[in-house]
Amino acid sequence: MTDANALLLALAIPTIATFLIAASGSRPNIRDGISVVASIATFAVVLRLLESIMAGARPSVTLVEVMPGLVINFSIEPLGMLFATVASGLWIVTAIYSIGYMRGAHEKKQTRFYICFALAIAAALAIAFSGNLFTLFIFYEVLTLSTYPLVAHKETPEARAGARVYLGILMTTSILFLLVAVIWTWSLTGTMEFRAGGILEGNIDPVFVPFLLALFAFGIGKAALMPFHRWLPAAMVAPTPVSALLHAVAVVKAGVFTMLKVGTYIFGVGFLGRTGASEWLVWLAAATILIASIVALTKDDLKARLAYSTVSQLSYITLGMALANQMGIIGGSMHIVMHAMGKITLFMCAGAIYVAAHKTKVSELDGLGRKMPLTFIAFTIASLSIIGLPPFGGAWSKWYLLLSAADAGQLVIIGVLMLSSLLNVAYLLSIPARAFFAPPRGQMAHSLGAAASPSKGWEEAPLFCLVPICLTALGCIVLFFAIGGIYEYLLSIPILPETAP
């Protein structure tokens, strides 16, 4: 199998899976089986591609030429490969988890759910592999549309309202800003290709660079930069596996991935750094990090709190791009991986709590830790990773973002990242801490053991929910120790223009 065929196969498997799932809608076991098998097959193909990419191959496939110069082209570079690996790898756990969750929560229209899910993964992979802005834009919109039914899944008025906000903001920003930015770029440079070192340098008056960057930054609404972040908490009405998909696997990561990709391959890190065009974005990202964290502190709804946490964490990645140096790109792309692993765990835990105990509010969780110890241990591990504490993966991405800030001479940004860690401790760790150690509401506990009564047995979520949670929580630890390889890999993201042959 050539690399190019593998690339097409990776895109084809989830697409074909949608039809198979649709066809087997009446037999749930087969349907769910197909989605799991498809996820594993996709991941296998993606891993096969990863191997080639690490060996230096850069496969490229052109599907159709819409107009001269306007082509649907897929070509893989290290950054996209990273995103594809994360998305397809986490699809497996989400697919398994979905079985437990959807059945445990007695959700309706599960077939539609699985169809849209597979479609969203296909779109995410297409974004990851896209070789030019046009392709990226098309599949960016496909992803938005394919996830709309997922957000509205419950078909309640709140679900519809949430989905309307979701679609409204994402579509509007993408057409109003991103499309304009794409067309502007095209008219300036005559190409839409992603090239190492960027395509804009020399083709644009430096005065306009911040404006073009603004169009991109706000146009990529999926990166949830303030003030266009509202869709993310609004989409919390969706079932939890969808939230996991939105927050960890596909949607938001597609956003920040696009951000990194545009920064690296359209503007060029060096160009951004020299013109200082991204300076304002640094501050906006920093503000988003802090404000979203503070808002998260005030949220009592577990998923809303996690949503604002995501808003804040995504801006880490935007920040990495905006700092415009190699460490920033490395830190940002590393954070895609680390945050994905941590946040998917957190959301799956939130779902498990809902399935097992029907609790959605943080304030209702007191004492629940003794009934669901594994879930809350996983929650603790993932929280620590997102806070950026060792020995969990998140520590390293924070390390590189700090290095990047140091390289850029931004001492204030270092302070922001530190403060954000503390805010994360306050709004994330308080959840498992209360679950394990706070006495149940309305009871007074005596320090000599009144509250520490022996547990009355575990009441965990179904195994299909629990196993993926434990796997991803372990992943957070593994990522800490496996960092050497990831770092080596990320170094291969081209920062400088390739020297002309």
Binding site: I169, I175, L389, P391, W399, A406, M444, S447, L448
Partner: protein, 564 residues
């Protein structure tokens, strides 16, 4: 023992196994074996750096064994063993695992040869130790734990920022002597300072230690702050600023301790004051002073653990550690009383007790280098130590007014742990060469001279006389149930009040602004429609432009609608 990089690994692996070990007795034995095994991994190892590898172009060294880290490794292992023995009765898996992880992280940090490893274990001590507070499982302990955690993680992230800047400046992450000359080293200094409870950064200590479980406090007292002292001794020996910080630290807790009612908090203030002596030693930085710091840390861990153990045993039996609720307990717990008095005499530095042979090194070093006022401050602080730890703790617990508690003597394992610790306190006091032999620098020092013994006894006994006079005349402050404000008031009362004020303002402004903006947007859309709409003047000349703007308007409206 095979070489395994860092002794922390033994603790980490044990922490993974312990939850699955049944029955309870087997688990206790395993727990006690861990510090022994950990000690064996470096006990006989020749000095050098072990567990080195290259990580992302950084030279990591997991274990640097030299004279300084060896002493701390030894005492940390000993403290872990004693704390676990004291906690023999605890059946709470959370506390057992947390104790192991905490002690392991402490050891790992002490042996870290580079700053990244130091950071990893530094945060490790923060995360693991908070569970010893939360394990009390009350609302107050939860809140206190959160405050503690924020402070500790705060120290960690400041350290991280410092390391990042340091790495960028020097290209190295080696942990060695640093100078206070750049933001990088200042940040590292500050991070150490938080963990070391420098003045104004100290309140986490007095806040958290009385809130932990009985056994948890014993464990907590050993590691965190002494790790910080070690880090200062490693990174900033001879930094003059530390002398003054340390002198302040020895003095101000004395007054707070004198009026504090919760005896475990009295001990926390006392701990703070003892750290001051060590910090002064680091600041002076001569071999004698550094020896003094290390020796004092060694002895201090033992007698402070002993004091916390005895007060803990009292709390275990009576349910309280408040001086106002205690008294006369020697009738029920005479052995605990004797161990407590041994601890009290050790911390007060009576001759033949361990405090005497370690504190005098620091006092001599400060006098040697001509720091008269610092020396004077340390002497006053020594009197203060006698006041709050030497007299107040045993007197109000075991003597004074009989509060009527008729309880059993402490359980056997607690008595055993206290007995061993007390024996070590006396042993070190009687045979100082045992400790002097392993100090980092070869220094010839004789603590037992006539002058020194007589003057020290004069100081202590006259101070004791003053206490007796004050008690008999009724001038001694009564033990009153109250809380006393300290610097923590700023973040427990002032800051929340200020923040809620700001939040109120922001909310009001936000509502006002959004009302105005919404009104403007509506009129803007109306205006655009007038200009570009089908009847608008612009529509006639530029139909294409009109269309584009129409789309823009429509999309803008969708956006606004989406927000509603």
């Amino acid at each position: 023992m095979p070489e395994i990089g860092t002794p922390a690994l033994v603790y980490m692996v044990a922490a993974l196994i312990v939850p699955f070990v049944r029955p309870a007795t087997l688990r206790q034995i395993l727990l006690l074996a861990v510090p022994v095994l950990g000690l064996l991994t470096f006990w006989q190892l020749p000095y050098g750096t072990y567990g080195t590898f290259n990580l992302m172009n950084m030279h990591v060294g997991l274990m640097r064994l030299d004279a300084l880290s060896y002493v701390f490794g030894l005492i940390f292992s000993l403290a872990a063993f004693l704390a676990l023995l004291y906690a023999w009765h605890v059946r709470d898996t959370v506390q057992q695992v947390a104790t192991l992880l905490y002690a392991g992280a402490g050891l790992g940090a002490v042996f870290a040869a580079d700053l990244v490893t130091l950071f990893v274990f530094w945060e490790g001590t923060a995360i693991a130790s908070v569970f010893l507070i939360w394990a009390r499982r009350t609302e107050g302990a939860y809140a206190t734990g959160m405050r503690y955690l924020i402070m500790q993680v705060g120290s960690g992230v400041i350290l991280l920022a410092g390391i990042v800047l340091f790495y960028r400046e020097t290209g190295s992450i080696a942990f060695s002597r640093m100078d206070l000359e750049s933001p990088a080293t200042w940040a590292i200094f500050l991070a150490f300072g938080i963990k070391c409870a420098f003045p104004l950064l100290h309140n986490w200590l007095q806040d958290a230690y009385p809130a932990a479980t009985i056994t948890g406090t014993v464990t907590l007292s050993a590691f965190t702050t002494k790790l910080a002292v070690y880090a200062l001794a490693r990174g900033f020996p001879g930094t003059e600023l530390l002398i003054y910080i340390g002198a302040t630290m020895t003095l101000f807790p004395v007054f707070f301790a004198a009026v504090e009612n919760n005896l475990r908090r009295v001990l926390a203030y006392s701990l703070n004051n003892q750290l001051g002596f060590m910090v002064v030693g680091v600041g002076i930085g001569t071999p004698l002073a550094l020896n003094g710091t290390v020796a004092h840390a060694f002895c201090h861990i033992l007698y402070k653990a002993l004091l916390f153990m005895s007060v803990g045993a009292v709390m275990y039996r009576t349910g309280t550690s408040k001086a106002s609720e205690l008294g006369g307990l020697y009738k029920s717990m005479p052995l605990t009383m004797i161990f407590c008095v041994v601890g009290a005499m050790s911390i007060s530095a009576f001759p033949l007790f361990s405090g005497f042979i370690s504190k005098s090194l620091i006092l001599s070093a400060s006098a040697d280098t001509g720091h008269f006022f610092v020396w004077l401050a340390l002497v006053v602080a020594s009197v203060g130590v006698l006041e709050h730890s030497g007299i107040k703790i045993p007197y109000f617990t075991f003597f004074a007014h009989d509060a009527g508690h008729r309880v059993k003597e402490a359980p056997f394992h607690m008595l055993l742990a206290m007995g061993i610790t007390a024996a070590l306190c006396i042993g070190l006091g009687v045979f100082p060469s045992l400790l002097y032999g392993i100090l980092p620098y070869a220094v010839d020092y004789t603590p037992y001279t006539v002058t020194h013994v007589v003057t020290q006894l004069q100081l202590l006994l006259f101070a004791g006389l003053a206490f007796a006079v004050l008690i008999r005349t009724g001038l001694y402050p009564a033990e009153i149930r109250s809380v006393n404000l300290d610097f923590d008031w700023t973040y427990r009362r002032l800051l929340p009040a200020a923040l809620s004020g700001v939040a109120y303002l922001v909310q009001g402004t936000w509502r006002f602004a959004s009302r105005i903006v919404m009104g403007r947007v509506d009129s803007l859309i109306a205006g655009v429609y007038r200009a570009h709409g089908p009847q608008g003047p612009l529509a006639r000349t530029w139909p294409t432009g009109s269309m584009v703007l129409w789309i823009a308007v429509l999309l803008g409206m969708t956006l606004v609608l989406a927000y509603i």
